[in-house]
């Protein structure tokens, strides 16, 4: 499938934005200025962006605790996200959600989620809304190999098939559920699980934007045409720990270094598009510089933004009470 040049440029920018957003958070978190838990998505950028390049604001996604990449890929603003992570009233959730609960329903982002396996049932509901309201939308659940073992996830695969929902289940398999290897924790295969629920299965290399884009495009088209749910299994590497501060003593010394050297989705993307003559390296460098400025501005702004007021504590528990 030919991907439009502007889509490629937008995707490159989104992947670079995720990378720089996360690497900056890694640095800022170490200073102690960022409260709470932070889970970084570095290394997995092509998955969120390759999938979301096939979606519009009318489509819905649900994310995970490792949600920054999905948010950026779906169009949530970086400044509002950064302010949220800093707990500022200007944050996308007014400082009341934090890293694990960033959501923006206006662009179809149903939320990061602090509960492993929290998203797939919600996506069944969003898909049911798309189907019932006949708006042509598709709902996509991102979840990890860890969440793939949750009962809520397995129930959702069944329900989506039983109701023939326009849903795509994207297993982002980075090989670890927290500190425990998927090779230990996941019995059988994701492919066999999809088959067990009667749904098509596609797998792809998550460091290859083009592979993800192609596979997700097929899966999403299948769901959008009313032919039922699909499982998309994306193989990835997580470059940082489960959370910031995780020393990753459970990983071999060279594992992350190898992933950074051989499976960096941004490097691979650049090589491919420049060798194909689609872009000059300098064009992409300009994007990198613009993104760097945007992230810098977001951090400076977030640190300067106002904190929530005491009245905010009681606001928005209910629409009306």
């Amino acid at each position: 499938m030919q991907i439009a040049r502007e889509t490629l440029l937008r995707s490159y920018r989104a992947m670079r934005t995720i990378r720089m957003f996360e690497e900056r958070l890694h640095v800022e978190f170490a200073t102690g200025e960022i409260p709470g838990f932070v889970h970084l998505y570095c290394g997995e950028e092509a998955s969120a962006v390759g999938v979301c390049a096939n979606l519009t604001d009318n489509d819905t996604i649900a994310s995970t605790h490792r949600g920054h990449g999905h948010c950026i890929a779906k169009g949530v603003g970086v400044a509002g996200m950064m302010a949220e992570i800093y707990g500022r009233s200007t944050g996308v959730c007014r400082g009341k959600g934090g890293s694990m609960h960033i959501a923006d329903l206006a662009c179809g982002m149903l939320g990061a989620n602090g509960i492993v396996g929290g998203g797939p049932p919600l996506i069944c509901g969003a898909a049911l809304s798309h189907k019932t309201l006949r708006d042509g939308g598709v709902a996509v659940a991102f979840y990890g190999d860890g969440a793939s073992n949750e009962g809520s996830t397995l129930e959702s695969l069944n329900l989506a098939s039983v109701w023939n929902l326009p849903a795509v289940f994207v297993v982002e398999d980075n090989g670890y559920g927290e500190a425990t290897g998927a090779s230990y924790a996941c019995a059988g295969t994701q492919q066999a699980r999809a088959a067990g629920f009667g749904m098509p299965y596609i797998e792809c290399d998550g460091s290859d934007y083009f592979a993800v884009h192609q596979a997700a495009g097929e899966a999403i088209a299948h769901a959008r045409e009313g032919r039922g749910p699909v499982m998309l299994h994306v193989h990835l590497a997580r470059w940082y720990g489960h959370f910031e501060g995780d020393a990753m003593t459970y990983r071999a010394a060279d594992e992350v270094a190898n992933a950074r050297r051989d499976h960096d989705c941004l490097k691979l993307f650049r090589t491919r598009v420049t060798e194909a003559g689609l872009f000059e390296g300098s064009e992409l460098d300009e994007v990198d510089a613009a993104v760097a400025d945007e992230i810098e501005a977001a951090v400076v702004q977030a640190k300067d933004d106002p904190l929530p007021q005491s009245a905010d504590l009681l606001a928005d528990v209910y629409v009306r009470y």
Binding site: T60, A62, G91, V92, C93, R94, G95, K96, G97, H101, A103, D104, L105, A106, L110, G111, N113, G114, I115, G118, P120, P121, L122, I123, C124, G125, A126, L128, S129, H130, T132, L133, A139, G151, S152, E155, S156, N158, L159, V162, W163, A315, D316, V317, Y318, V319, R320, Y321
Partner: protein, 342 residues
């Protein structure tokens, strides 16, 4: 106006709201019942106790959705549908099954609005039956409304009669927050006059089923009827009771309770949920904190013991609050005399 059972009142509320608003959908285990069965009937049950019977016929299977027996997925789906444009009414069948899907209610639906900085609306209703008195034993008889009341973001409704059930369910469906609507399973065949037209009873406004001067009784759901029976008996002995049906435990009409306690000086709370951290303890705390000086006797709670609900009729009868126990509690509070400290 005509005589309707608790079951019929709930069915009528669902039917009228589904006619009024095409985004209202039902889902749950056997809400139609019979799909995929060898008889080829698609509305065999209409809910395990027949509450949703006939709705499939009128609204079709895009709006009345039978689910697999997988509470986490379909309660979660109801939450997800609610934040994306539908107004789902999900039936959990027995409230005890919340153990299979509490995450979807507690961590997802209840918290969307707050976590997302006020940007989400979650117009979700979860209907479930509750309560002892059916020999349904420990896993099908609990009264778990304190559990839901404890969770900010949820509203919790306990109708005490067919009239109340219809008006409160209509309010629940029209509400933009997640609502837990709890139906005492012993009441489904109780009848009373219920208007044929739709009407909404607001949340957080208690109903005084009778007004008296001596003792205030606060009771929930089926306990309201028992409290009124006890009050009838006590009236004949010259003890006059106010009976308050709060209708909703969240929001709770604290003002009405405090005003009535200020008038009577005595409070008995009847609550069929487990006695630790239940509505009786909650209301006792509120009154102790805010109306201590108006009390003329210790607050009394008529509650079950701290045990699972037993099976055998003789034990289940002992377990539940009764008219006799309410009468005894009121009599005891009337007998209390304040001793002035020297």
């Amino acid at each position: 106006m005509s005589k309707k059972s608790f079951r019929q009142a709930i069915n009528e509320a669902l039917r009228q709201e589904m006619r009024r608003d095409p985004t209202v959908i039902l889902m749950g285990e056997d809400v139609a019942g019979g799909r995929g069965g060898s008889a080829g009937i698609k509305d065999a049950w209409g809910g395990v106790l027949g509450v949703t019977k006939g709705l499939l016929e009128e609204f079709g299977d895009t709006r009345v959705l039978d689910t697999p027996i997988t509470e986490a997925s379909y309660i979660g789906a109801a939450a997800g549908a609610a934040v994306t444009g539908l107004r789902p009414v999900a039936e959990l069948m027995f409230v005890d099954f919340v153990g299979c899907c509490l995450d979807q209610i507690m961590n997802q639906a209840a918290k969307f609005r707050y976590m997302f900085g006020g940007k989400a609306r979650t117009p979700l209703v979860i209907r479930a039956m509750f309560g002892a008195g059916f020999n349904a034993a420990a896993q099908h008889s609990q009264a778990l409304y304190p559990l839901f009341t404890h969770i900010p973001g949820l509203k919790v409704v306990i109708p005490s009669s067919p009239y109340e059930a219809k008006g409160l369910l209509i309010s629940a469906i029209r509400d933009d927050d997640p609502v837990i609507f709890l139906e005492n399973k012993v009441m489904y065949d109780e009848e009373e006059d219920v208007p044929d037209e739709p009407y909404a009873i607001p949340f957080g406004e208690a109903n005084l089923t009778r007004e008296g001067r001596d003792v205030t009784i606060v009771a929930f759901g089926r306990m309201v009827g028992l409290a009124n029976q006890a009050a009838d008996r006590l009236e004949k002995k010259g003890i006059s009771c106010t009976v308050i049906d709060p209708r909703t435990t969240s929001p709770l009409d604290r003002d009405t309770i405090l005003e009535c306690v200020a008038d009577t000086g005595r409070l008995v709370i009847v609550d069929e949920s487990s006695p630790r951290c239940n509505m009786a303890t909650d209301i006792a705390a509120i009154v102790a904190e805010e109306a201590f000086d108006t009390l003329r006797a210790p607050i009394r709670r008529v509650v079950p013991p701290h045990t699972p609900v037993p099976f055998a009729t003789v034990l289940e009868t002992l377990y539940l609050p009764s008219v006799d126990r309410i009468e005894a509690a009121v009599t005891a509070t009337m007998a209390h005399r304040v001793v002035e400290k020297v």
